[in-house]
Subunit: 119 residues, 2 copies
Amino acid sequence: MVFEDIIKDIVDNISGCCSGIMMGVDGVMVGSYHKSETLEDLNILSIEFTKILKEIKSSLELLKAGDVQEIAVKTETMMYLIKMISDEYFVAVLLEPLGNFGKARYLMKKSIPSFHSEL
Amino acid sequence: MVFEDIIKDIVDNISGCCSGIMMGVDGVMVGSYHKSETLEDLNILSIEFTKILKEIKSSLELLKAGDVQEIAVKTETMMYLIKMISDEYFVAVLLEPLGNFGKARYLMKKSIPSFHSEL
């Protein structure tokens, strides 16, 4: 199963999910899939979040709170969810404000072994 | 109802919730409540997140994605959830990894009018 198929399987099975991306923590996209014209937004946001992720990690190190597993941000117009695949890669999705956030968390967690088997 | 009572009402009614805090986006704590010895961690993390919040806001402005309403971070040892009360204040809680994240989101959202009535 290639990365795009794993991402498609996540995006297609979440109500209100517009697009998904797999990215390296260096900001380079590995694979993506989209149902609507939101992929460019997701790409830009994920590149921005590679910087924010470093800051979150360094804040958490102060507290010895362990590695980041998930980050979620909700705004008036969207939900953005990141799930770490490894220290080097993450998968992220963009949802509508009333999209199924719980199912997104569940499916992204469930997909991790599939990503690992392709790395 | 004072701020501490609103925070206590949130923390006491979420399974696995250790502590809660209300803070200004300038990093100054307004009120807090804790059930375990995690308040200092929550305070430090929330001060760190006032800086991270600014970066998230500026990234979202690029996409015209609206104001931040919620941020959640899950690590191996904890869940940290921020809910914006206004442009100037937020409430944040610290949960155990298997704490009731969904109820935390629900109660924090439901508490916003109570915070507003005290501002």
